[in-house]
C-alpha cells in the first residue's frame, strides 16, 4: 500500500496548509474592507442620514477643480521634503559621530533617542509650539533684542511645520543610519587611508559615497511618513492656515455639518495612490541601499576615526543635539505642568510652581480611564499583532506556498495614512457595525490592522535568523508542524517576539490620528485626550498628563531598546 504524501509538503504544490488558509482569511477580513469602504464612499453621494446614495464622481471632480488643490499638493511636497532634509542632516551627523568616531559622550545620543521614542507626538509638538510661540521664550528674547515691532518667529507656518516634523523624525533617522554606519566595513576606509586620503577625502569618496543609497532611502522614508502625518499639520499648520492633504481630510470631516465623508474619502483615495507609488519607489531604493552592506572581518574592531583636537567641538555638538531635540521640549512641558496656568518663563512665576496639575490629572477618573484604555489598547494590539506576525512571518520567511500572498496582504496597510485608515474604519463601523463604534475594541481592530506590517518585519527577521535545519532536524525526529513550531521556532523566536511586542505597543499607544475619528466617551485614550486638551487650551493638564504618560512610556521604550540591542534586532 502506497504511503500518501502530505500535499502541502511536496515541492510545487499549490495547496495551502490550514495555517496559511486561516491566516489569509484573517488578513483579508482585516485589510480588504477598509479599501472597499473607502473607495465606495468616495464614489457615492451621502444622504443626510449618512447612508449611501447614488454613484457619483462629484467628489473627485470637486477636488481636482478646487483652486486650493495645487497649493495643497505643493504644500504637502514642500513640507515633506523639508522635514526629510532636516531629519536627514541631524540624523546623519549624530549617526556618524556616534558610530564612527571617538567623540566623547556618544552614549547620550542613544539615551536621548530612547527617551524620544516614549514621548507622545502631541506632547512633543505642543512643547515646541510653547517654546517657539508668540509668547514663548525665543520670541521674548528676540523682542527684547530687536524691539517689540521687530520680526519674530511664527511657528504656525509651513516653516514651523518643517522644523517640528524634522525634529520629530531625527531620532528615527539617527537610529536607522547608525545601524548603516555600524555595519559598514571599515576596510574600505582604511584602504582609502593607505592610499593617502585624509579624513575629508575619505568621508567624501568612501564613507558617504557608499552610504548614499541608504541616505536616499531614509530621506524617502521620512518624506513618506511626513506626507501621511497628521499631528503636525493639525496642530502647527491649521492655526496658521497652512494646509496639506491630511489636514484637509480632517477639515472636510469636522468643519462641514454634516461631515463631507465623500470628499474626505476621495482625498483618502488620492493619498492612498500617492503612498502606493512612493512606497514602491522606496522598496526599490532600499534594496539598492543595502547592497554594500558587509560583515566586518574576523575579530577586527570597526575602525573609529580619531578626531584629535576636534573631539571637544564634537562633544559639544553631541551635547547640543539632544539638548535641542529632547531637553528643551521636555523642560518646556515640565514648566507648563508645574504652573497652575501657563505663563511664559520668568523668574516671577517660580513661586507659583506646584504639583496641582499632576494631582488633578492623577485623581481624575476620566484621565485614569484614558491611561488604562491606552495601556489596554497597546497591550491588546501588540499581542494580536505579534501572534499573527509570528505565524505570518514564519510562512513568509520559509516561503511556503501562499507566502507571497500573505506578504502582500500583510504589507498592504502601509499604504494607508493613519487618518485615512481611521476614516475607512469609521465608515465600516457606522455602516456595518454600529455596536462596535466608539468602543475600545474598535480601536484595537484598527491598530492591529495598521501595525501588522511592522510586526511582520520583526517576525520575518527573527525567523530568518533561525537556520531551517533546526526545524528539519525536528521534522526528521518525528515532530509534526505544530510541535515543531511551538517547541523549536517559538523559543528561538522569543527575542524577535519580545522586540515586536514592545515596538508595536509603543506605536499603538502613540497613535492619535488613526483613532481620533473613532474614540467614544468610553474609549478615550491618552493620545486623543492630549489633542483635545490642547484644542481646549488646557495647557497645564495637558503637560501634566503628558509628563506622567511619558514617564510610563519611557520605561517601555528603554526596555525595548535593551532587548533590541541585546538580540541585534532592528530598532524601527
Amino acid at each position: 500500500m502506497a504511503i500518501a504524501l502530505d500535499d502541502s509538503q511536496s515541492v510545487g504544490s499549490r495547496r495551502y496548509t490550514p495555517k496559511v488558509t486561516i491566516l489569509v482569511v484573517l488578513l483579508c477580513l482585516g485589510i480588504i474592507p477598509p479599501f472597499l469602504f473607502l473607495a465606495y464612499a468616495s464614489l457615492h453621494q451621502f444622504d443626510p442620514t449618512g447612508a449611501f446614495g447614488p454613484a457619483t464622481l462629484a467628489h473627485f471632480i470637486g477636488i481636482f477643480t478646487s483652486r486650493a488643490f495645487i497649493p495643497t499638493l505643493l504644500a504637502t511636497a514642500i513640507y515633506s521634503l523639508g522635514a526629510a532634509l532636516v531629519a536627514l542632516v541631524i540624523g546623519t551627523v549624530q549617526a556618524w559621530l556616534a558610530e564612527r568616531t571617538d567623540a566623547p559622550l556618544r552614549g547620550i545620543l542613544y539615551v536621548a533617542s530612547a527617551i524620544s521614542l516614549g514621548i507622545p507626538y502631541v506632547l512633543y509638538i505642543v512643547s515646541w509650539l510653547l517654546f517657539l510661540g508668540k509668547a514663548g521664550p525665543v520670541n521674548n528674547m528676540l523682542r527684547s533684542l530687536l524691539g517689540s515691532a521687530g520680526p519674530y518667529i511664527d511657528v504656525y507656518s509651513l516653516g514651523g511645520m518643517v522644523f517640528v516634523e524634522g525634529m520629530l523624525w531625527s531620532p528615527f533617522a539617527f537610529l536607522l543610519l547608525s545601524s548603516v554606519f555600524r555595519n559598514a566595513d571599515a576596510a574600505y576606509e582604511e584602504a582609502a587611508t593607505m592610499c593617502g586620503a585624509g579624513l575629508p577625502a575619505t568621508l567624501r569618496h568612501v564613507t558617504f559615497a557608499m552610504a548614499r543609497p541608504a541616505l536616499l532611502a531614509l530621506a524617502l522614508l521620512v518624506f513618506i511618513k511626513a506626507s501621511e502625518s497628521f499631528e503636525v499639520p493639525a496642530l502647527v499648520g491649521l492655526p496658521g492656515a497652512a494646509r496639506v492633504l491630511t489636514s484637509t481630510i480632517y477639515l472636510r470631516l469636522t468643519l462641514d455639518m454634516p461631515p463631507d465623508i465623500g470628499s474626505a474619502s476621495a482625498f483618502g483615495v488620492l493619498l492612498l495612490i500617492i503612498m502606493a507609488i512612493l512606497l514602491q519607489a522606496y522598496s526599490r531604493i532600499y534594496a539598492e541601499g543595502h547592497r554594500y552592506r558587509s560583515i566586518t572581518g574576523k575579530g577586527y574592531r570597526p575602525r573609529v576615526v580619531r578626531l584629535g583636537r576636534w573631539r571637544y567641538p564634537a562633544g559639544i555638538l553631541i551635547g547640543l543635539i539632544p539638548l535641542i531635540v529632547v531637553v528643551i521640549p521636555l523642560a518646556t512641558i515640565l514648566w507648563a505642568a508645574l504652573l497652575p496656568f501657563y505663563q511664559p518663563f520668568s523668574l516671577q512665576a517660580v513661586p507659583r510652581l506646584g504639583f496641582d496639575n499632576f494631582v488633578q490629572v492623577l485623581r481624575s477618573p476620566s484621565f485614569q480611564g484614558a491611561i488604562i484604555n491606552s495601556l489596554v489598547l497597546g497591550a491588546a494590539t501588540a499581542t494580536l499583532v505579534t501572534a499573527l506576525s509570528a505565524v505570518a512571518g514564519w510562512c513568509v520567511a520559509r516561503r511556503v506556498p501562499g507566502s507571497r500572498l500573505i506578504d502582500n496582504l500583510a504589507t498592504l496597510p502601509l499604504v494607508f495614512p493613519a487618518i485615512v485608515l481611521g476614516l475607512a474604519f469609521l465608515e465600516i463601523f457606522v455602516h456595518a457595525g454600529p455596536l462596535l463604534y466608539g468602543s475600545l475594541l474598535s480601536l484595537v481592530l484598527v491598530s492591529t490592522v495598521a501595525y501588522v506590517p511592522y510586526g511582520l518585519r520583526y517576525a520575518q527577521l527573527g525567523v530568518m535568523q533561525i537556520h531551517p535545519e533546526l526545524e528539519e532536524a525536528a521534522d526528521i525526529s518525528g515532530a509534526g508542524h505544530v510541535a515543531t513550531f511551538v517547541k523549536v521556532v517559538v523559543p528561538l523566536l522569543v527575542p524577535a517576539i519580545v522586540s515586536c511586542w514592545l515596538f508595536v505597543f509603543l506605536l499603538a499607544v502613540r497613535a492619535m490620528s488613526m483613532v481620533l475619528l473613532l474614540v467614544g466617551p468610553d474609549s478615550q485614550v491618552v493620545a486623543v485626550a492630549l489633542f483635545d486638551l490642547w484644542n481646549n487650551g488646557q495647557i497645564g493638564e495637558l503637560a501634566a498628563l503628558g509628563c506622567v504618560w511619558t514617564a510610563i512610556m519611557t520605561a517601555f521604550s528603554v526596555a525595548f531598546f535593551a532587548v533590541a540591542r541585546r538580540y541585534q534586532m532592528p530598532i524601527g
Binding site: 566595513d185 576596510a187 574600505y188 582604511e190 584602504a191 582609502a192 587611508t193 593607505m194 592610499c195 593617502g196 586620503a197 585624509g198 577625502a201 569618496h205 568612501v206 559615497a209 557608499m210 548614499r212 547592497r291 554594500y292 558587509s294 572581518g297 574576523k298 575579530g299 575602525r303
Partner: protein
C-alpha cells in the same frame, strides 16, 4: 628598508585582563625582500602589520621606513597612515564597489601629496599598472562586477600604482579557492621580484610562507619565536612549536642524561630507547626535550634488508595504516611501545601489518626545547637600511 624595534601593543578586555597583542617585536626587512609574518590566529601578526601601516598606534617601540622614523614612542613621533607612502592589500581586498576599476587604481595618485598628477599622467600610469595586472580590459567596468581573483589583482594594482617603498599584504590569498590560490602565489612572487619592492606578508598558511618568502618570522602569542629563511625554519626549527607548526613532524619526548654542547650529537633517552640526535643549541641534563624527525626523512626498509643492522637509531616497526596521497604514500608505523611514527615513503609499497625496519638518520634527528625559550636566528641577509 623597514626596521621594527621593540614594538609593544596590548589589548585589554573589559575586565582589564590581557586580550592579546604584541610584545617586544623586533625585525628588519631589507630592500626588495619578501618577508613573511607567520603564525596561528591571534599570534599578533596582523597587529604588527597594522602597526607598521599606521592603522594601530603601539604603546612603545620604533618603526623606521627607508631611514625615516614613522613611529617612535620615545620622541612621540607618529606619522599618520595616509602619509607613510605604503601600499597595502587587505584581506577582503576593500575594492570600492561604487567606483570603476580605473578609479580604484587611480585613487592613490589623486590623493598624492608629494606630487600633483595631471589627468593625462594618471591615465598613463593607471593603464600601465592595470596592464601588468591583466586588468586593462576592465578599466571602465564597475569594480563590484569583478571576480575574487580580479578584485585581488585590482587591490594589488592600487597598492603599487604610486610606487611606494613598502608593500604590506594581509592574508590576501585566504579568500581564494585552492587552485586560484596556487596561481596567485606564483604571480605574486614574480610581481614582487619584478617590481623589486620590499614586502611584508602576513599569513597562517605555512606552505604559502615557505613558497613565497625570502625570510620568515614565526610568531606566537604576541612574540617572534624564530626568524630565518624557509629552509632554516623547516630544517632547523628553534623549538617544538615551530617544528609542529611548519610541515608535519614526529616528536619523541625524552631527556639527556648528560649535558650536551651546542652543535654536538648525543643519545637522548626516549620511550623507544636511546636515540642519537643533533643538538643545535645544546641541552642540560634531565631537561625535558623532544626529538624531531620529519616524515620524509624516516627511512623504511623491509625487515632484514637494512644495510647496517647494528647502526644506531634503528627500530622494528609494524605498519598500522597506509594512505596513498598521490605524490607520496603516508604510512603510520607502530614502533616500540605504543609510539606511532608518520612516514612519507615515495618508493616502496607497504600494506597493513607489514613488518618494517625504521631508521632515523641522526643528522636529520633534531633535539628541540619544548617551547618557552625562543631562539632567534640571525641570518646574513637583511641588515639595517
Amino acid at each position: 628598508m623597514l626596521r621594527v624595534e621593540n614594538l609593544t601593543k596590548i589589548y585589554f578586555l573589559s575586565d582589564l585582563s590581557s586580550g592579546g597583542g604584541i610584545r617586544h617585536v623586533d625585525f628588519n626587512v631589507g630592500a626588495g625582500e619578501f618577508y613573511t609574518l607567520l603564525g596561528p590566529s591571534g599570534c599578533g601578526k596582523t597587529t604588527t602589520l597594522r602597526a607598521v601601516a599606521g592603522l594601530e598606534e603601539p604603546a612603545s617601540g620604533r618603526v623606521t621606513i627607508a631611514g625615516r622614523a614613522v613611529f617612535d614612542s620615545k620622541t612621540k613621533e607618529f606619522v599618520p597612515a595616509n602619509r607613510r607612502n605604503i601600499g597595502m592589500v587587505f584581506q577582503s581586498y576593500a575594492v570600492w564597489p561604487h567606483m570603476t576599476v580605473f578609479e580604484n587604481a587611480a585613487f592613490p595618485l589623486r590623493m598624492s601629496r608629494t606630487r600633483r598628477w595631471r589627468e593625462v599622467e594618471i591615465g598613463e600610469r593607471v593603464a600601465r599598472t592595470l596592464d601588468i595586472m591583466g586588468l586593462a580590459a576592465f578599466a571602465s567596468r564597475s569594480a563590484a562586477q569583478l571576480s575574487g581573483g580580479q578584485q585581488q589583482r585590482l587591490a594589488l594594482a592600487r597598492a603599487l600604482v604610486a610606487e611606494p617603498r613598502l608593500l604590506l599584504l594581509d592574508e590576501p590569498l585566504s579568500n581564494l579557492d585552492a587552485l586560484l590560490r596556487e596561481q596567485m602565489r606564483l604571480e605574486l612572487r614574480r610581481l614582487q621580484k619584478d617590481v623589486g619592492i620590499a614586502a611584508v606578508y602576513v599569513t597562517h598558511d605555512q606552505s604559502e610562507a615557505l613558497a613565497l618568502s625570502d625570510r620568515i618570522a614565526v610568531m606566537r602569542d604576541g612574540a617572534i619565536v624564530q626568524i630565518g629563511t624557509p629552509r632554516q625554519i623547516y630544517y632547523q626549527p628553534a623549538n617544538e612549536f615551530v617544528a609542529t607548526f611548519i610541515g608535519r613532524s614526529n616528536l619523541l619526548r625524552g631527556h639527556f642524561t648528560q649535558g650536551v654542547a651546542p652543535q654536538a650529537r648525543a643519545p637522548m633517552q626516549t620511550p623507544l630507547g636511546p636515540l642519537l640526535c643533533e643538538c643545535p643549541s645544546g641541552a642540560v641534563a634531565g631537561e625535558p626535550v623532544a626529538a624531531l624527525i620529519r616524515p620524509e626523512h624516516v627511512v623504511l626498509t623491509a625487515v632484514g634488508r637494512a644495510s647496517d643492522p647494528a647502526a644506531p637509531n634503528r627500530f622494528r616497526g609494524r605498519i598500522a595504516h597506509v594512505a596513498f596521497l598521490g605524490e607520496t604514500t603516508e604510512c603510520l608505523v607502530q614502533v616500540g611501545d605504543g609510539v606511532e611514527i608518520v612516514v612519507y615513503s615515495a618508493a616502496g609499497e607497504y600494506t597493513l601489518s607489514d613488518r618494517v625496519d625504521v631508521f632515523f638518520p641522526p643528522e636529520r634527528t633534531l633535539a628541540l626545547a619544548s617551547g618557552e625559550k625562543s631562539r632567534v636566528q640571525n641570518s646574513s641577509k637583511g641588515n639595517q637600511s
